[in-house]
């Protein structure tokens, strides 16, 4: 992985630039002023989470169809990264909610949906930890992952129907909603930054999962006393 260092440096530069843009370039918000500047990273976290969980959903289906271990590695890696992004989104949301709304938390459809998703994907990780056999673990957790992903729109729809009246979304919410163009550009930078960050971590996590898999194979080969163990592919990965 020769390209790893430049990519990481570029991502770090992007993070600094996005932070600078959110704090100094973005215009002041009319009612919330400085507090609102957390919004860029808050929404960025959600963008990263949805990307990660969509990748997980695709990987889960791909595992069931193809049975290639790499889809299972991708599945667990993207769920872990997605849970991390979800945690960031929840924490920034709570921090923003207190000064902006006067409360830490409200059972708004979007908040509830993300919270339930967070619990569901943590359950996914717990489930994986409790099944020994690799093939079975991959298949059963993929099935659970597909169910969890299908549940997300239902959770959202049910909460939206249930609460009835809640503030409409600012972006794509209707004809009177929308962002200042400068805010939109900063938001785009923040969303791209968080998604790129997520993808870098995802790639690393994927590599770790692959190494673990190789280690298991090697250990198995060594224990069974096989005369022709697989060549050490781990070296080239590092």
């Amino acid at each position: 992985m020769k390209s790893r260092v430049p990519i990481t440096v570029a991502a770090a530069a992007l993070v600094f630039f996005a932070g600078y843009a959110a704090l100094f370039i973005a215009p002041d918000e009319r009612t919330m002023h400085e507090i609102q500047r957390i919004f860029y990273f808050h929404l960025g976290s959600w963008a990263a989470m949805f990307t990660a969980l969509t990748i997980a959903f695709i990987a889960n289906i791909a595992w069931l169809v193809t049975r290639q271990p790499r889809w299972d590695w991708l599945g667990v890696s993207s769920v872990e990264v997605g849970v991390a992004a979800c945690t960031a989104g929840l924490i920034t949301g709570v921090l923003w909610g207190k000064p902006a709304w006067g409360i830490w938390w409200t059972w708004d459809p979007r908040l509830t949906t993300c919270f339930i998703l967070w619990i569901l994907y943590i359950s996914y990780l717990i489930l994986r930890g409790l099944i020994e056999e690799p093939q079975r673990r991959a298949t059963l957790s993929a099935i659970f992952g597909i169910f969890a992903f299908l549940d997300a729109p239902l959770v959202y729809a049910s909460n939206r129907l249930w609460v009835g009246q809640h503030p409409s979304p600012v972006i794509m919410g209707g004809k009177d909603s929308g962002l200042d163009p400068a805010m939109g550009r900063v938001l785009l930078v923040a969303v791209v930054t968080m998604t790129v960050m997520m993808l870098i971590v995802l790639v690393d996590r994927y590599r770790l999962e692959r190494l673990r898999h190789e280690l298991d194979e090697l250990r198995l080969a060594a224990e069974s006393g096989s005369s022709s163990p697989k060549p050490l592919a781990a070296k080239e990965l590092l």
């Binding site: 339930i116 359950s123 489930l127 409790l130 298949t139 099935i143 659970f144 299908l150 239902l154 129907l161």
Partner: protein, 224 residues
């Protein structure tokens, strides 16, 4: 053999097994009853309060009872490796799953048919005028519970700590079902009961989504 016939045979086997031992049904009913009784200490059970809290309370009790009751559905096939025997039969895996879902639906609906009247008596709610729509709501809600629950029972059967794992997997997935079931039940518990059709449609939608997913994934779920 058609899927329907195979599912009917599995259903017959499950029912025979249960009605010979009767351990699952008795335990479930008593467990749900304990929850209902304990709630009366947590809330003031006057008629007005019961109308407000009753639907949520009942569904929470059934969700908990269901998440415990569904556990043996696949777990008890393991002690004598009887699931392997079932898999060897020349029927589709979905038929096995469907038979178990129907059996669980019957068990839970029976438990509910006993518990809802007891609840109405204990919490002073008159339900005689809404028996038919209430039955529909409970069947649709319980169907969603047993569809996801039976699938997850098969998932959890292969894991360690499966008794604890099944509620953990099942209860968050059921959040939308809980909201819809509580809202439809509340519309029937009100002073002037009127069935909330939008929520009823949502319940049916939940059932359809997850039944379709179970059908599509059943081959993978029950593979060797």
């Amino acid at each position: 053999m058609s899927t329907a016939r195979a599912a009917a045979i599995v259903l017959g086997k499950e029912l025979r097994l249960e009605f010979r031992a009767r351990e699952l049904l008795t335990t479930t009913i008593v467990f749900a009853l304990v929850i209902v009784v304990l709630f009366s200490f947590a809330f003031d059970p006057t008629a007005g309060e019961s109308r407000r809290y009753g639907p949520g309370l009942l569904w929470i009790a059934f969700l908990f009872a269901g998440s415990l009751m569904l556990n043996p559905s696949f777990a008890r096939e393991q002690s004598n490796s009887t699931l392997d025997a079932l898999r060897m039969a020349p029927v589709s895996p979905f038929a096995i799953l469907l038979g178990k879902m129907l059996a669980n639906l019957i068990f839970l609906c029976l438990a509910e048919a006993i518990l809802v009247p007891v609840f109405a008596v204990l919490y002073n709610i008159s339900l005689t005028s809404v028996v038919a729509p209430l039955a529909l709501v409970f069947v649709l809600g319980t169907l969603g519970l047993v569809i996801t629950g039976t699938v997850f029972s098969a998932v959890a059967a292969h894991a360690r700590m499966r008794e604890l794992l099944l509620p953990l997997l099942l209860l968050p997935i059921l959040a939308p079902l809980l909201i819809a079931a509580v809202e439809t039940t509340a519309s029937l518990f009100a002073e002037n009961p009127a069935l909330d059709r939008a929520w009823l449609a949502f319940l049916a939608g939940f059932d359809i989504v997850f039944l379709t997913a179970s059908w599509l994934l059943s081959d993978f779920l029950l593979e060797e």
